[in-house]
């Protein structure tokens, strides 16, 4: 089981989310974390936007991993959002983004928390994984993809990352 699956409850997987811009996506993410994990939505929103000031968290190929530190958070939390229509994200390849993994880590983020980012990037650099995520019909299927990812891929890290 991958590290990622431990911080992604099924309720945090949303498909066909309607959002017209990056800002709206972050608002929706805030709402989701507020409802499910009890983190104030404005805190989530501000934290994600603080990180975007440094440069887009878009990776390319329609993928983004917005992330931020949250004061008072005990364990890292994640959410996976698949959008109904892609939004502009200033990604390095210029493509609009339609799949996002939002990662929130405690304020005293240690190295393990930050390694989650490179694990995510490695997951998404697997083209087959991306395409399966794209084609999945419901949240449960996507959730199980994240849970099972580590099973075969952990032993043979993708050299392309």
């Amino acid at each position: 089981m991958s590290l990622i699956s431990q911080l992604l409850p099924l309720s945090n997987v949303v498909i066909d989310l309607d959002a017209s811009s990056k800002k709206r996506v972050f608002e929706q993410a805030g709402l989701l974390f507020e409802n499910n994990q009890g983190i104030a939505r404005s805190t989530v929103f501000d934290s994600l936007f603080t990180r975007e000031r440094l440069g887009s968290t878009g990776l390319g190929q329609g993928i983004a991993i917005p992330h931020g530190r949250i004061k008072g958070l005990k364990d890292a939390a994640g959410a996976f959002l698949r959008l109904a229509t892609p939004v502009q994200f200033d990604a390095p390849d210029g493509r609009p983004v339609d799949m996002l993994f939002v990662l929130l880590v405690p304020e005293q983020a240690n190295e393990t928390h930050l390694q989650l980012l490179s694990e995510l990037a490695q997951m998404f650099s697997d083209r087959e994984f991306r395409e399966t995520l794209h084609g999945a019909t419901d949240a449960a299927q996507i959730h199980s993809l994240f849970v099972n990812w580590g099973a075969d891929a952990a032993n043979q890290p993708d050299p392309a990352v």
Binding site: L3, T50, R51, R53, L54, G55, S56, T57, L59, G60, Q61, I63, G68, R69, P92, D93, G94, R95, E107, Q108, A109, E111, L114, Q115, L116, L117, S118, E119, A121, Q122, F124, S125, D126, R127, A154, P157, P159, A160, V161
Partner: protein, 580 residues
């Protein structure tokens, strides 16, 4: 008449074989120059060719003419922008580096060969400078993209360090033949006149030539001859006035090559061929001149000299010379390793032979063997060492071909050729639509070739994989455009393993990074832009590939704009799964 035609036949045959042989050099991983030398040696007295060629004067004539052409061509292709990172370090290597290397090697040679110290020093001075022909050819055709600092340092050094070696050789020959007139003052004066006149006449000559090239209306083919003959004039005149002709012709080339005009492309194309001819001709002749069987008599000494030069003398001289410039250790090692010797030492080794210095045949044979070993060992490992030492940067996306089309005398447009790869971003789009990604730049498609024939452009045209297009677009965005035509290779961010997963805006504040990840950085650094932070921590002009660790993160320079400005940074997160 038979004599003349036999000579033509021989010249033609040798060149012809050399050119054909060049196709196998890439496959063997051998430097092309070595192959040319090999052809000459095979044609010579110890090889099947059996030609006895012992005329040191003619060999020296051909080699010097060839070197001036190679340096002119090298100068034409040297971008002044590369001076930003490497001019001062290269200048130190071209002066101190030669002296330091020669001094260390001279002591070693005196002890090894058990000769007069002046003879040992003379031998060391002969092989003291790196070779422009070898460095330009091997670095530019090695198939790896080197870190700009390393490449520019090596290239400028090799173009500018011959005067110092020539001076040292002249000085040592002087002390051997006429000890009474050789004083320290006369050497200093000679150095000043070599460098000073070389620089002044080279820059002035280059200026005049570039003006002429812009003003004169000549048939296209004549522009290159204008520059070639002008370069030869500068070379010869500077030499006659006791300046360094090599330095002058290199500088003249730089001046001409960096003042672009409508004729520049014609000149570059023709000069490319001439530089190849010069290299092939020179190395074939030098191969003919040497007698391999005599070289073998001194093989052990030559080997010891070469090993000492490569592993002790040059690395020490480089490490000391580059100390103030804060080069990373791997770059120092690479600059040390690629101290390629080539034609210059052989030409310099001819000087004492012609001047009648005792034991000069020994010098010639040892110098030649050192050059051979350097080309064989160092030359063949130029790409491999780059990989091992990590001075390689990921290849740039580039147009397949590039033309500069001049409209009148004053303005030029760039035409770039691209090929649509499978999975490219351009796939399925109208070629003119690609310009909308680059607001503020004029981007237009002028021709589309599909399945081998010209395809008419209509508003409904969509690009397909395999299409070739010629676009009018400014050269500044050629890399970004090339990226839209390149396949995605399944990676998220291009070369993420080298640059890191995220792209960071160099204008964002360092405090943004610190706050986003809870990193501790010095109070004074918080207010800096990320690009400035990187430049400050590096303590040297940044180049693509320069890396700084901040906490567990690595920041890498992804792209550089003009005037040494960083335009994109890469951010690499700590790798998961316990180390890289």
């Amino acid at each position: 008449m038979t004599g003349i035609n036999a000579l033509f036949l021989l010249t033609g045959l040798l060149l012809f074989i050399s050119v054909l042989a060049s196709t196998i050099s890439a496959r063997l991983g051998l430097p092309l120059l070595l192959l040319f030398l090999g052809v000459g040696m095979l044609a010579g007295e110890d090889g099947p060719g059996g030609i006895v060629f012992e005329d040191f004067f003619i060999a020296s004539l051909i080699a010097q003419a060839a070197l001036s052409v190679i340096l002119l061509d090298g100068g034409l292709r040297t971008r002044v922008s590369s001076f930003r990172v490497a001019l001062r370090p290269a200048a130190v290597l071209a002066s101190w580096g030669v002296i330091g290397t020669a001094a260390l090697l001279g002591v070693f040679a005196t002890w090894l060969l058990d000769v007069d110290w002046r003879l040992g020093m003379l031998l060391a001075a002969i092989v003291g400078s790196t070779d422009a022909a070898a460095v330009f050819a091997l670095l530019r055709n090695s198939g790896v993209r080197l870190n700009e600092r390393v490449q520019a340092t090596l290239e400028i050094e090799s173009g500018a360090n011959d005067p110092m070696a020539i001076l040292l050789v002249t000085a040592m020959v002087g002390t051997l033949l006429q000890p009474e007139t050789a004083t320290l003052g006369s050497f200093v004066w000679m150095l000043a006149s070599q460098l000073g006149l070389g620089a002044i006449l080279g820059l002035a000559g280059g200026w005049v030539l570039s003006r002429l090239m812009m003003r004169l209306a000549l048939p296209d083919g004549l522009y290159a001859l204008l520059i070639l003959s002008g370069g030869t004039l500068v070379f010869a005149a500077t030499n006659l006035l006791n300046g360094s002709g090599f330095l002058a012709v290199y500088l003249a080339g730089i001046v001409v090559g960096n003042r672009r005009s409508h004729a520049t492309e014609h000149v570059l194309r023709v000069m490319d061929g001439l530089a190849w001819l010069a290299q092939a001709g020179m190395f074939v002749v030098l191969g003919l001149l040497v007698t391999p069987s005599k070289m073998i008599d001194h093989a052990a000494e030559a080997l010891a000299m070469a090993v000492f030069l490569m592993l002790v003398a040059r690395p020490l001289a480089v490490a000391i010379g580059l100390l103030p410039f804060r080069y990373p250790r791997n770059e120092l090692l690479y600059v040390s390793w690629v101290g390629l010797r080539g034609a210059v030492p052989v030409v310099l080794a001819i000087v004492p032979v012609v001047m009648g210095v005792p034991d000069s045949q020994l010098l010639f044979n040892v110098a030649f063997a050192v050059v051979l070993l350097s080309l064989l060992v160092q030359g063949a490992t130029v790409p491999l060492a780059a990989r091992w030492l990590g001075v390689e940067v990921p290849p740039r996306d580039e147009p397949r071909d590039k033309r500069e089309v001049w409209v009148g005398e004053a303005a030029a447009v760039d035409m770039l050729e691209f090929c649509v790869a499978a999975g490219a971003k351009a796939d399925g789009r109208h070629p003119d639509e690609l310009g909308t990604d680059h607001p503020g730049h004029d981007v237009r498609c002028v021709a589309l070739v599909r399945e081998g024939s010209l395809h008419r452009l209509t508003p409904d045209t969509r690009l397909r994989p395999g299409d070739s297009v010629w676009m009018i677009a400014p050269d500044e965005i050629s890399e970004q455009l090339a990226r839209t035509f390149a396949g995605s290779r399944g990676e998220l961010t291009a070369n993420a393993s080298f640059f890191g997963e995220f792209v960071v805006d160099p204008d964002s504040r360092a405090s943004d990074l610190a706050d986003a990840y809870g990193l501790r950085i010095a109070e004074a650094e918080r207010e800096l832009a990320m690009g400035e932070l990187l430049a400050v921590r590096l303590g040297r002009p940044p180049v693509v590939g320069d890396r700084v660790d901040i906490g567990a993160f690595a920041l890498t320079v992804r792209e550089m704009g003009d005037k040494g400005r960083i335009t994109a940074l890469g951010l690499k997160c700590p790798p998961f799964g316990g180390g890289r």
